[in-house]
Amino acid sequence: MKIAIPVNNESENPDIAESLGRAPFYMVYDTETKTSKTIYNPAQDSPSGAGVKAAQTIVDTGAKILLTIRCGDKAFEVLDGAGVELMEGFVGTAKENIDAYLGGKMSKLETIHAGHHGHGA
């Protein structure tokens, strides 16, 4: 099973990113191989619809679990529609979040915030 986390950099154990759509990278951890890889988030510089594009990127990695501090309604619709389960991450490193999740110490993300997205022009 693959777990995705929005992160701030490409290091081995980066901090979780506060924003989902505008996170610079996503770390994808594979519980079977116990390895992780970090992918670039192409949506971070998108003037319009970063949440949707970011969610598409996460879905395309094949991750079925997402650990995140927050999530907008449109990104949620994409993720939920693809069967990705959202768990409520906390400020800390990616590893701390993964350990908490695997240890059963993480609850589902309850609040999905409204988007009200603006056009770029």
Partner: protein, 278 residues
């Protein structure tokens, strides 16, 4: 004559000025293009309101024809499309209705259908005809609503267009047909800075314009006034700070209809506008 009322930011008194001018100029037409937050109708309280929907086209995919190539998802620069579990998902609020996905789809799987993004309400209050553009909450496409409002503007008569604040493209759309622009500004360094931005916009479109100095405090320095003097901009009105005007306006009441002092003030400003617009 079509007069557009603008301001660099919200809260300068743009709507207060528009409705009071429309009232002293009656018979007149008041058009509210501040579609995100149309407040003019709160003052004017139109009756016999007729409402028409403003629609835009958004895409829909036929799952029998779609083969999941996701070319449309990659094409859409507004990120209004996503593809998950063998289905195309459309986010209507993100869509700019460019029609591109339909054109480029190799399978011809996309069709378009109309979707309501807001309304234009038209009504009457005494001698004033009122057209209000209202954008649905969560929507972003103000321009189609402003375009519909433009169609309502008569060729003749006194027309007042209450524009959105700032200097975005929806402001440009709102002043398209204006004969004269009125810029409302506050007596602070903030006000002067924002005034500069709107002045640049109306100059770009080569519209004649003048400034109303609102909330003016007599005897104090007024940076907006200094800006006008320095740049040779006509000051077509001064509205001194007045607690009574503030109170009436905070309750969405029309000052010129309740107080002869304000009636005189706004009538003079209207005369100045007419003269400047000649």
């Amino acid at each position: 004559m079509k007069i557009a009322v603008l301001s660099g930011k919200g809260g300068t008194g743009k709507t207060m000025v528009s409705v009071n001018l429309a009232t002293v100029a009656a018979p007149s037409v008041y058009v509210d293009c501040d579609v995100e937050e149309p407040n003019g109708h709160l003052y004017l309280k139109p009756e016999n309101v007729e409402r028409e929907a403003v629609e835009v086209l958004i895409p829909r995919s036929n799952p029998d024809k779609c083969n999941g190539c996701t070319e449309c998802v990659r094409f859409c620069r507004f990120n209004a499309l996503a593809y998950t579990l063998d289905r195309l998902k459309v986010f209507p609020e993100m869509c700019h209705s460019c029609g591109g996905c339909k054109v480029i789809c190799p399978q011809k799987a996309i069709t378009e259908f109309p979707r309501t993004v807001g309304y234009v309400e038209s009504g009457q209050s005494g001698d004033i005809k009122i057209h209000t553009g209202i954008m649905n909450i969560g929507e972003v496409a103000g321009i189609p609503i402003i375009d519909r409002l433009s169609e309502k503007i008569p060729e003749a008569g006194n027309v007042f267009v209450d524009c959105p604040p700032g200097s975005s493209c929806s402001v440009m759309e709102s002043i398209k047909d204006a004969d004269f622009c009125v810029l409302v500004s506050e007596p602070t360094v903030f006000g002067a800075h924002n005034l500069n931005m709107v002045a640049e916009l109306v100059r770009t479109f080569e519209k004649p314009f003048g400034v109303i100095l609102n909330k003016d405090i007599g005897g104090e320095r007024n940076p907006s006034e200094e800006y006008c003097l320095k740049n040779n901009i006509d000051i077509i009105g001064r509205i001194p700070f007045d607690r009574k005007l503030g109170l009436l306006s905070s309750e969405a009441r029309i000052a010129v209809a309740e107080d002869s002092h304000f009636k005189k003030l706004f009538s003079e400003i209207l005369d100045n506008i007419k003269e400047a617009a000649q």
